[in-house]
Subunit: 398 residues, 2 copies
Amino acid sequence: MGTQGFRFVVEKRCEDSWARTGVLGTPHGEIRTPVFAPVGTQATVKTMAPRELKELGVSLIVANTYHLYLRPGVEIVAEMGGLHSLMGWDGPILTDSGGFQVFSMEHLREVDEDGVTFRSHIDGSEHRLTPEKSIAVQEQLGADLVVALDVCPPYPSDREYNRVALDRTHLWAERCLKAQTRHDQLMFGVVQGGTYPDLREEGARYVASLDFPGIAIGGLSVGEPKELMHNMLDVTIPLLPEDKPRHLLGVGSPEDLFECVARGIDIFDCALPTRVARNGTFFTPQGRLNIRNAEYRDDSGPVMEGCSCYTCLTFSRAYLRHLVIAKEILGLHLATLHNLHFMIQLMRAIRTAIEEGSYARLREQFLGGYRTADYDAAKRDRRAWVGKLRDSGGVGND
Amino acid sequence: MGTQGFRFVVEKRCEDSWARTGVLGTPHGEIRTPVFAPVGTQATVKTMAPRELKELGVSLIVANTYHLYLRPGVEIVAEMGGLHSLMGWDGPILTDSGGFQVFSMEHLREVDEDGVTFRSHIDGSEHRLTPEKSIAVQEQLGADLVVALDVCPPYPSDREYNRVALDRTHLWAERCLKAQTRHDQLMFGVVQGGTYPDLREEGARYVASLDFPGIAIGGLSVGEPKELMHNMLDVTIPLLPEDKPRHLLGVGSPEDLFECVARGIDIFDCALPTRVARNGTFFTPQGRLNIRNAEYRDDSGPVMEGCSCYTCLTFSRAYLRHLVIAKEILGLHLATLHNLHFMIQLMRAIRTAIEEGSYARLREQFLGGYRTADYDAAKRDRRAWVGKLRDSGGVGND
């Protein structure tokens, strides 16, 4: 790769799908793939101390460049010795490019060929994000994995919009590669193309042709139906090199892990498990459980039978419901802990199944028993969340 | 004492003050006194998991009967096997009588000879608290230590008010003793008397004459100057039996521990360390440190040099400031953890000093180096807190 301290090895391939296991070595330790990375937008996975993340077996954290650039400020992070040192996490970290947040602030930004001018959601101050700036900031933050600045169109958006965005994404990708001065960070180029199969193919070919040691797929799970996301992966993945890790940005739910691992994704990051936890929603093999429901008022059982997390081993549904209803912080923490444990264990089971040749069976079994939050409900969730962010002047991700 | 599973032994007495060490054995383990108990109003010490409290060496938790009676409801707690089982804490617990909260809700309650009628701060529903009811509820909650229902006058209040309140407190004390049916709970009678030395003496004599295995001192630290609180202890303590544990309700700050241990107090409980933590205030041997101050923006040192808590061993002032400014829950948690560690370690040092005959020196040394939050600032703090509670329709304690 030409990048120091990294290696990526595909270890085992599934015979029934494009699923694969591998190891991504980084200067801060090995990541066994496929992997789920919790999101720690402001240099903290909300409610979780780093020692608790370690205990859960978390092997990669994602932090958001946009947020950290504004607060505490990239100079502060650099002065504190970088993100790892700042947040007391000595495992691998990935930072995104900052683009997703900036593009989501429709009324606060202006895009041109060279970059984006935007206003801070915190104090309204004006800032400029260019490919070079994104890489410079990510170099100061000091994560192990970094992402090239791309243009992320909303869903739905027309073909012309996506055409322009894709061209710009490719120009910026090359500028990002040129801008890199640190060689101890592994950079992901980003495949865009909206929901247009031919644009996705073009994006995949272009990014694969550049010298990126990792490939990210962006612009999905932004409101489009799941089938459309799967179709886009189906056209993208075959065009990507086998020997580079593939990161599906901002995905996903438990069911997404199964569907997208089957389509050849190695790395996932998503704020969903931690975000819904803070609303009292717990993941179980049967689907999401909302602990606020009155039926749990006097339920002495654990949230999830057989779960080995601290929350399930120690507390009843009745107590967790009490904490959430009484707005106690401990409730948010214990729900977050459980959901992350659930995701990490799920990914562990997925890796084992791929290794043992039983992935197709596991996938069928899980998806057969798991009642997914339906499309409309998921869209409502998302709308409520985005609305809340707007009300508070905040910007994603976690 | 006639109470099963308990013993209280005074082990060592200070030669320069009334300070003493002892052991209070309970059905859920031993408490080495003097002891500081964190407050877990709603059956959770805010932001802290029970395993973290264990790790800190917490040996007693206080929970609030008023709050638990209303939410989740005493029947739910009983159905879940009592407070210990509900909250996953197998160490000793004390519940208060519910009186302090009810009396603090001036516009929502009406007192008569027999008890208090009040409205829930949550849903406005009407309830009745009598001595018998308080004990019945505390028996259902199932704490190790329980407190008789008293009348707690505000500060300032006139002599006549305190006269009536004291008589009523004594009548209710006897009714509480009579109402007790469980013999695995140790009951504290409460000494009242406001800031009137003769009433305090009368209260002390009366409560000491009854068959309470523990003595609590109430109605202090409710807004009066510190000297007045100390004076009240000076007249009260000599009238109390030597062989019963003494609990100073709702106190105190680090400086209070030193002053009141010297006056013969064995048990303290206070929400201050956890409450101010959630405002970004950390205790240090030099006084309170507000992490929001701009000077900590790029301070890479720990909050407290030489502190062995997880927070200080792992994170810089700059990071903790970032978390608090960015309203991250982890910041509230890490501050709470540090402050509780500080209080527990301080009490440990106090016990050791009493044992080694160096308490007077430790007290002088600590109070010499510790800049106390001055009286006016403390009063402002308190007002702001009470105001916030009123705004949110909430009622103390933590």
